[in-house]
Amino acid sequence: MLFPTLSFGLFFLIVFTVVWAANGSNEWRKILLLVASWVFYGAWDWRFVALLIGSALLNWGAAELIWYNREAPAGRRRAIMIVGVVGNLAILGFFKYYGFFVEQLGDILHAAGYARDLPLMQVVLPVGISFFTFQGMSYLADVHAERLAPAKLLDVTLLMSFFPHLVAGPIVRGSDLLPQFEESPRLTRDMASMGLVLIVWGLFKKAVVASELSTGLVDPVFFDPAAHSRLDLIAAAYGYAVQIYCDFSAYSDMAIGIAALLGYKFPLNFNQPYRAQSLQDFWRRWHISLSSWLRDYLYIGALGGSRKGFARQCANLMATMLLGGLWHGAKWTFVIWGGLHGGVLALERIWDRIRPQGFPRLPRVLGILITFHVVLVGWIFFRAESFDAAVAYLKGIATAGLASDVLTPLACVLILFGMAIHFTPANLGQRIALQVRLLPAWALGLLVGITVLIVDAMRFEGVAPFIYYQF
């Protein structure tokens, strides 16, 4: 069930009505939201609802044990947390990385002269598994660090299953959402206005910009780079940069908007990432819920951040980004993407340290251009089917001709639009919401209806799944 479909629209209308009708009892409200979330998840595959419940039970149980042992020696509490984290990683590892690691092991054994038939299995990847397992692990780490008290089973299960963020984030931490579950929420005009702005804006970015660029430009060129000219390859690379932003940020916007209409606040997940002046700045703007998760729980929490010297800090940055790359999927191209980001982040730190005093800083525009193009090269590896395909793509940019058979005026306009929205005022959506909250319901209803009608008239036939569903 994809957000920008009529099926989801009808599902949401029912959930919205039933949940607010039950607002008198917060417990019943949460139970209804939980059932709705399972119906939403079960629309892909009912079997994985059991996995979701099992994962919630694991994290709830481990957190209860950590809390029960809070007077016990720190080592015991830590051991319980590690067992819980390993349980989450085992779930993630089996479903997401089993095939990849068995394949790599087979290659290593073969190279060493020990050819063996390893037990390969076709493991179906549950949608959103990377998101809910990360959520579970951060919950355990927060309870262990006493940043958060353990929550009731219902709340933990709803935290991990809540349908707006379930399949593609944002990774909403327990500390953000669990306190909101404690009382029946109140829907204010401000929340509803901003929620509606985000939903309509997300719908436009996904259904019009991302879908059009994907089907008309990016997919054909990345499918067979050798058959396309230099101009097509360059345009498709820029097109993919805009597509992945409009696709992923659209999901986040709609998730935040849908949650708001149900009375809950999710954190910001994107903040005009292509206006970043450095890669460090980029990661404060792109997939903020993942980058802050990796920073807090992996880079600082597990690896020690900058506490163990400068060389170790750079190594930690690289390790964090390599694992961040692997989080996206079991492919070497994701690891290389992560390595590129980790390497450049480390270089930025090194340059900051060795830069002579008085040496002029990079002009802002140049910083933005360089950062964007580093990110762009990373996206080629991220999108390519294999390392060889990515290298062939980059070679094609350097060698092929300038004739184009896929670049259209519409694609150019959409790419320019996708870039231009990064340079509008950062709080433009909020300013619009401040205006629309003053409108009477009939006027805003008509405005929303007309906007959705325009988007629907422009959208590509059918809706492709969001890119981040596969993660």
Binding site: T188, S404, D405
Partner: protein, 108 residues
Amino acid sequence: MPQDTPSPIDLPEPELKESGLGWTFGVILIASLFLLCANAASLRDWIEDQPPSPAQQQAAEYADQWVDTTEAVGIGLPRKAMHDQWKRAEVARFPGSAHKEGAADSPE
């Protein structure tokens, strides 16, 4: 929300005092009714995509009749006109483009 994880839902001006629930119901109701009238074709297409059954066939018949009605009174036409315009934009090419003539889909 905690300060280190701001939410875009927190607007930068003081909150309006009125409850938003009835207002939001009104907004969603009006938007839904508007789309039911002005975008009936999408509802018909969605019903046609559902697994076949007697109920689905019956619903598809009603949806067809509803589309005819909205087009007869003219309320469904703006969407169709915009969609046709968009399809023309999709197939437009730069002068001298290497794209083969006739390979593009024609507008509906």
